[in-house]
Amino acid sequence: MNPIEGTIDSQSKSETAAGVKAGVAAGDEAALHPMFHNPRKLRLFKERFFYGSILLATLCALGFLFYLLFSIGAQGWEHLDMDFINNFPSRKPAQAGFKSAIWGTVWLGGMTLIFSVFFGVGAALYLQELSPKNRFTSSIQVSISTLAGVPSIIYGMLGLGIFVRFMGMGRSVLAGSLTLSLLIIPVIIIASREALKAVPDSMRMASFALGATRWQTVRDHVLPAAVPGIATGVILAMARAMGEAAPLIMLGALTYVAFVPSGPLDPFTAMPIQIFNWTSRPQEAFHDLASTGIIVLLGFLMLCNSVAIFIRLRWGRKL
C-alpha cells in the first residue's frame, strides 16, 4: 500500500503526479515546484509512522485477545475433567465442580430462548410487516431504541421488582429467564427486523397479487425467507444473555446451589455467577476453578457463535 522508492531525485519527476492515482502510487510527488515547500522525507516518515501506529493498535487488540484466552486456558486447563463437570460446588476447591452452574445455564438458556423468540420475533413481525404507521407503533420504536442502551443491571432491578417480588416467583429459573428475555428482546427485535427488511419486496407483491392477506404473505413467504437471518440474530443475543451475571445477581441468584433445577420454579445458579463467586474469593485455588469455569463458558458461547456462522454461510445468501 505504500511502495516507497529509495531516493530518486524528486525534481526530475514531472507534474503527472497530480493524477488520481497519485496517492496510491505514492512516493514521488514531492517538491513539484519551488513555491511548494514539501519536505519529502518528513512526509514519508509520517506516512510510515501513521501506518505503523494503526497496525500496532490492531495487533495490540488481537494480542490482548489471544493472551486473555491463552492465560485463562493455561490456568484452568488442569481442572478440566469429568469431575469438574459432574461435581457440585464445594467449599473445598479440590472437590468443587460446575454441575449446578452448567445445568442452571442450560435451563435458563432453554426458557430464555422460548420467551425471547416468541416476543422478539413476534414484535419484529408486527412492526416490520403488519403494523400501521401511527403513534402506537412509533412509541414502541422509541421504547425499543431506549431499551437497547439500558445497562443489564437495571434489567436485574426490574426483574427483582416485578418477577421476584411483585409476581412472587422468587429466585427461580422462571424469574431469571424472564429477566434475561427482557434484556435481549430489543436485540432480537432489531436483528429480526433487519432480516425481514432484507426479504425482497417483489416476494410480498407476488403474494398480495394472488389475493393473499398480509398475514398469509408473512407466514408463508416472508418469514421463511428471513429465518436464517433471524436465527443468527437470536443465537448471538442468546450468547450474550448466557454470559450475563449482573442481572441474575440482582435477582439474588448468588447463593450456594448444590442441585440441578428440576422445574421452572426452582432456584438456580449459572455459569457466570459461579465464576464470579469463585473469582471473588481470595484463595488462589478458587481462581483456578474460575478459569476452568471460564473455559467451559467460553466453549459454550463459541459453540453458539459457530452455529450462527454456520447458518449464515449455509443459508444466508439464498435470495
Binding site: 416476494m203 407483491m205 389475493g211 435470495l319
Partner: protein, 255 residues
Amino acid sequence: MMSQKFTSPILQATNLNLYYGTKKVVKNLNMKIGKKTVTAMIGPSGCGKSTILRSFNRMNDFIDTFSHEGEILFEGSDIYKSKIDVTEFRRRIGMVFQKPNPFSSSIAKNITWGPKINGYKGDLNELVETSLRKAALWDEVKDKLNDSGLALSGGQQQRLCIARAIAMDPEVILMDEPCSALDPASTLAIEDLIHDLKQQYTIVIVTHNMQQAARVSEYTAFMYNGDLVEYGPTTKLFSTPDEKLTRDYIVGRFG
C-alpha cells in the same frame, strides 16, 4: 383524446386522478377496457402507465403516499369504494411483474399456494398441470415439479409466474413490463403465450417496447406525462395516429 367504446367493459376508470404525495401522476383518466382483449399501455417512463396498472388491482395500497380521486369500476363496482374484500378481489385480477418473482419453494408449490390460501377445493395436481400447460411450461418442467422455482431460467421463471397467476382462475391478467428482464428468445415465448391467453383472459400489458405493443395487443393506449393522449385499435394507432404527440413518439422523436 378519444376513448374506446365497449358496451360491457370489464375495467373502467372514470375521472381518475392518482397521486404520490402531492404529485399528480395520472390526470383525469377516462378509459374502458373490454372483456377478452389485449390492451397495451405505452409511453415514456414516468408517464403513469405502471401506476394505472397497479391501481387496477390496488397494489398501490402498499405505497404510503399514494392517494386517488375518481373511480375504477371492475365489472361495474368501484374497487376503491365497494365493500368487496381487497384480497378476495385481487384473486380475480392476476398480476405478472417486471422481474420474475417466483416464491422460493418448489415449482408445484409456487402454483398451488395461491389457490390453497383462497380455499380452492379442486384437485391441486390437476391444477398444476393445466396451469403449466396454459403457460407453455409443462413440457419443460413436468419431471421436476419439486425443484425450486428459483432454479429455472429467467424466461421460465416468468412463465411460472404467469402460470401462478392463471392458477387463480383470474378474469384479468395485468402485466407490468413482463419481458423487460428477459432475453429475446424468452420474450418471444411470452409474446406467443399472450396470444394464446387472450382467448380466455383480459390482458393489460404495460411495455416500453413499441414493437412488442404492436405485436401482441389489439388496443393500445399512449400515455404522456400523466395524460392519456390516445387510445384505440393498435393497427390504427400505429399507422394513422390522430395526435401529433403520438406520431412523434412512435417514430422515435422522443422517449
